[in-house]
Symmetry: C2
């Protein structure tokens, strides 16, 4: 009994959001709200008060927001995060004896009962608050208490006084919180910059941008190419690894074991006698060139993201300098990567289970800090699911403690619980199964899960219709309409999305062989020379979609996503909207790359604040066409040239 | 980094059952299983092992049960609780390097790859296990390791050896668990005796059983009446409070403020100058009489349950002896119970917010212990939601620590979250909304929630079609068929159920006034004389239903409940079955007390282990009629005499 305070009557439970009992933070970007709900109740029928408490990590004082009682003991409060880093929140609630008493008094007065004695009880409550109060307030409270006790003052006057707003305010100010219940946990919010929530990525291999076909491109060549990407409206420029590439086990074209003298090797074959993860491939240029490229890109609104691929080629300096960071085979050789029966002789995984794991962790952290020094703030992390979870939690925590603006994108194409766990550990964005979700049923299921369940609190999707590793069959066979459809889906279903270009905007769609998702003559193993003006390219189409994203806040978040009936399995319709519904975007996409499809899209007009009786404007931003729609059902028809609508819905201005 | 062990690779999360992050125990009765599921995974693709650990509270050693991997990183294990009190469980899991290596070896062998070097790696693993092993095992392991290294032994022989069962067993025995992950929480199971799970309650006012009409009945009179109740098949006999009744503010018939000289008062008006919660009403007899009644009842298979109503009449000895346990009004009088504008002048609530709450708690505990001394092990707790939650958690914990066989039934007819919270705190059974759930839709919704969601882990429903306070309109207007339907529903939807008799079996159905749920001339305020043989009584019907419950284990649990389609909103059909499906009970009830109703009940035959092609037996245990049914859809018809089927489904014996 000693451990408990028998006078604490309020229970706070069912707090949302709360990830795994508070083990993990929720994520927000600057400017976003944290809406907190909880079940709050006490025994009996007294009136309760509840506060949402929040503070920036490190601040001493809690800031307070009153919570509101909704229905069935559910309460809600909200606060907005305004600074990078970490916030904490919790809840405090208590029984309010004065408010409870007022509630009873009102009912008795309504029932015309005698309340003389009750007013004396009220006077006692006011008096005891007066004793807790500061000077002027104390005088007021004690004065009121006296008046409440004075039988000469008419009962109705005293009732009016005690139920008055000034009394309520001072009584609330000096309410006795000594038996308040404080929720047992302080929950965390990880606050990112807005780009973690809203970004358009463009992945490119810098070595393919020489002006001279066949020649190894440089960072300087890339500088020339920047306006092309910026004009398309992207804001993150992601490079595969830019480090020296190993020679000993280098793979040839199309991942062949035989390698020619001119084969450049895969950028993921990191490390040679020229250096490892902190070096720049000499044919790309110097570290100074890289920094200059980063600066130029920034001028054009493009932020450079690097690949963090924590494994080594056979020639990586670590192999000689830190053999203890690798596993050895019984013959003394270093164990290469395997996924039996497949062998990856060109890749040496780091051994995180060795005795020197602490040194290894520190070194890997120093790689991230090195590139942060060079101006990089976004890292796309290669295969994080093949390194220990604890390492990522530590690494991201350490880096973000110094640089809370850093964004880590998890490239974990693996089982769902592992993808989610990495997100919980701190990754700010995550690759998704979108790449393989092509039918309407799949898309509805998957995006309902991503945007309407607790997952959304920590897992921020970044949608990629293609990557250098994945050319989906839908793109292989669907031609230009398939590329357009997938671009619109990625860019509007996800506030974060990206493409691997120029393979995407040029519609490259030939697989290495039938049944494979690998590109034929993949850029991973050879230097390309792209004809960016080839006919049918999607440059302008992409630019238009990206401009629509920037101009319409509804597309810059995911949580408002909802799907709409349309009665045709080849047409998908969904909307996103701002909280105030001043920006409502309806997207309709033809998933059939072969045939024209039509249907009647059904809209929840009243929820959108649109009238079912009066016509409203459907402005197709993608084709700049205006329609006058009326009522909840409207006809849509999409083909193989016009594959999608991105419609802004608006009431007609009168 | 100091706080973490970088080599722990396995994650254990999503453990079920786990109530509110482990804050509360789950409940089981002796003999029941605890099936534990968890998401268990690690980085990369290694083979994992997981153990479910459990122990009785106080035992030092964990008992271990291997967990099985199901699908998508979900694992499952189970244990059975065999002793009263509290159990603990948790999970341990680790990466198994040898099993992982074996998995790779098999794939390589299947792909006809060279594995000479791999066998040396295997030998190293076996050797290091040998160094950890005890004597004979060590010899075996080191011997195998040698053989695996011997090039003269054919590769196929060595592969066969290393993949053999004896090697696998010893390697599992000596697996290195030093980097195993132990789940961070030890979760609790509250183990009750079987009666907490399966019981049939009969509530009666002992004072109404004098042989002479109008005279105050005694415990001795009750003894004579016991066979009547036992013959109906009940096993818990619950008495409203048996204590002295206050005189000062006593209520008259029908809760009237005026009281006549012969009015006995409500049993809940506890306390007079003759004593309080530890005394027996003098007109009922002595404490010795009570103990004898308890013993006699036990001989007939009936366990006496007492009412624990923690409030006082104006005349309760506490009022004089412990005025500090009550609230005072400004005029010095004690504050009676109020729910404005309603006043309950005959009831003084205890003040749990006073400075002397510790003494109060101890005194209330001593009441429970006092009645335990007299042989009582079941308490029906009156209005627990008007006393602090912390008090109940403490009280039940203290009592059960000494007497783990005690059962507390929560009479909290209040808001859902409060009902659930009381159950979480330790109440072994709970009253439900069943009393007000009469339509098919309501019943399906509510019982799906009670039996198919996490609620079932801690909230054990006890279903009452009537109580002395509640005569539902359905019973008021439905006549005998309504009483039969509600009895069958209560007794088969709930493994625990009860009736307030003899009002129930005699079909008493007149309310105090239209729109009221109170009985006219309620037994709460007067002594009754019941004509138990009055025509139309349900004694034999109830006896039959209770016998069916005892003979059919399917009806002694709730979790197997499922509803079946029938295509008629007035007929409800559901089944319960044992885990092995050797006992399958189908219940069909006509909810319409006025008309005959029919429909085609649809059964999931294959899940029941019944063939859709061969006829099977439908044995109506309620009317002892056998039908030969065939296929999943069969015709049922129920009227106002035959209102329900309780059918045992069985394959035909050949």
């Amino acid at each position: 009994m000693e451990k408990t305070n028998g006078k604490l009557r309020v229970v706070i439970e069912g707090v949302k959001p709360e990830i795994d009992g508070g083990r993990f933070p929720v994520k927000r970007a600057i400017g976003e709200e944290v809406v907190v709900e909880a079940d709050i109740f006490a025994d009996s029928h007294d009136v309760l008060s509840a506060l949402l408490l929040y503070r920036r990590e490190g601040d001493k004082e809690w800031r307070e927001v009153p919570m509101t009682s909704l229905v069935n003991d559910l309460w809600r409060g909200a606060f907005t995060v305004t600074e990078l880093g970490q916030y904490r929140y919790t809840i405090k609630a208590w029984v309010d004896p004065f408010a409870s008493w007022c509630q009873g008094l009102k009912k008795k007065v309504d029932a015309k009962q005698e309340v003389g004695l009750d007013l004396l009880t009220g006077a006692e409550l006011v008096e005891s608050a007066g004793k807790r109060a500061e000077k002027a307030d104390a005088v007021a409270l004690l004065g009121w208490a006296d008046k409440l006790k004075t039988r000469e003052v008419p009962e109705a006057t005293r009732v009016g006084l005690v139920l008055s707003e000034p009394v309520a305010q001072l009584m609330a100010k000096y309410v006795d919180r000594s038996t308040a219940t404080l929720y047992a946990k302080e929950l965390a919010v990880l606050v990112d910059r807005p780009k973690a929530r809203f970004s358009a990525w463009y992945e490119m291999f810098p070595r393919s941008y020489s002006a001279i076909p066949g020649q190894h491109g440089t960072f300087k060549d890339c500088e020339t190419h920047l306006p092309y990407i910026a004009d398309m409206g992207f804001d993150v420029l992601y490079f595969p690894p830019i480090h020296p590439i190993g020679k000993t086990c280098r793979k040839g074209k199309n991942n062949a074991l035989e390698v020619g003298p001119d084969d450049p090797g895969s950028p993921w074959g990191i490390g040679s006698d020229g250096g490892g993860h902190k070096a720049v491939h000499p044919q790309l240029g110097t570290l100074a060139d890289f920094r200059q490229l980063v600066a130029r890109a920034r001028e054009l609104g493009l932020e450079v993201a690097l690949d963090l691929a924590l494994h080594c080629s056979c020639d990586h300096p670590y192999v000689k300098e830190h053999p203890e960071w690798f596993r050895r085979r019984p013959d003394g050789s270093i164990q290469y990567a395997e996924n039996p029966p497949k062998k990856y002789q060109d890749t040496y995984p780091l051994n995180f289970e060795g005795e020197n794991w602490r040194e290894l962790w520190e070194e890997l952290k120093s790689i991230v800090l090195f590139w942060i020094e060079q101006g990089v703030r976004i890292f796309r992390v290669d295969n994080p699911h093949t390194k220990p979870f604890r390492f990522w939690e530590w690494l991201i925590g350490e880096v973000r403690a110094q640089h809370p603006d850093v964004v880590f994108l998890s490239e974990a194409f693996t089982r769902p619980k592992i993808m989610h766990y990495l997100a919980k550990l701190g990754f700010n964005q995550s690759y998704t199964y979108f790449t393989w979700r092509n039918t309407k049923w799949e898309l509805v299921q998957y995006f309902t899960e991503l945007t309407q369940t607790q997952e959304r609190e920590y897992f921020r999707p970044n949608l990629w219709p293609n990557t250098p590793d994945i050319l989906h069959e839908y793109l292989q066979t669907g031609g230009r309409p398939a590329f357009m459809a997938r671009l619109v889906l990625a860019a509007t279903l996800g506030a974060n999305y990206g493409i691997y270009g120029p393979a995407f905007e040029l519609g490259v769609n030939i697989p290495r062989e039938k049944g494979s998702e690998e590109y034929l003559n993949s850029e991973k193993y050879e230097i390309k020379y792209w004809n960016l003006e080839s006919p049918g390219n999607l440059k302008n189409f992409i630019a238009r979609v990206n401009r629509i994203r920037r101009e319409n806040p509804a597309l810059q978040h995911n949580w408002s996503l909802r799907f709409h009936n349309l009665g045709n399995d080849q047409l998908i319709a969904y909307s996103k909207s701002t909280a105030s519904f001043d920006n409502i975007i309806l997207v309709v996409v033809n998933l059939d790359p072969q045939w024209t499809q039509s249907g009647w899209v059904e809209l929840p007009l009243s929820e959108f604040g649109l009238s079912a009786e009066v016509p409203y404007i459907a402005h197709d931003l993608l084709h700049d066409a205006q329609y006058e729609w009326r009522g909840p059902r409207n006809y849509v028809e999409l083909g193989t040239t016009k594959v999608a609508h991105i419609i802004r819905l608006q009431p007609q201005t009168i």
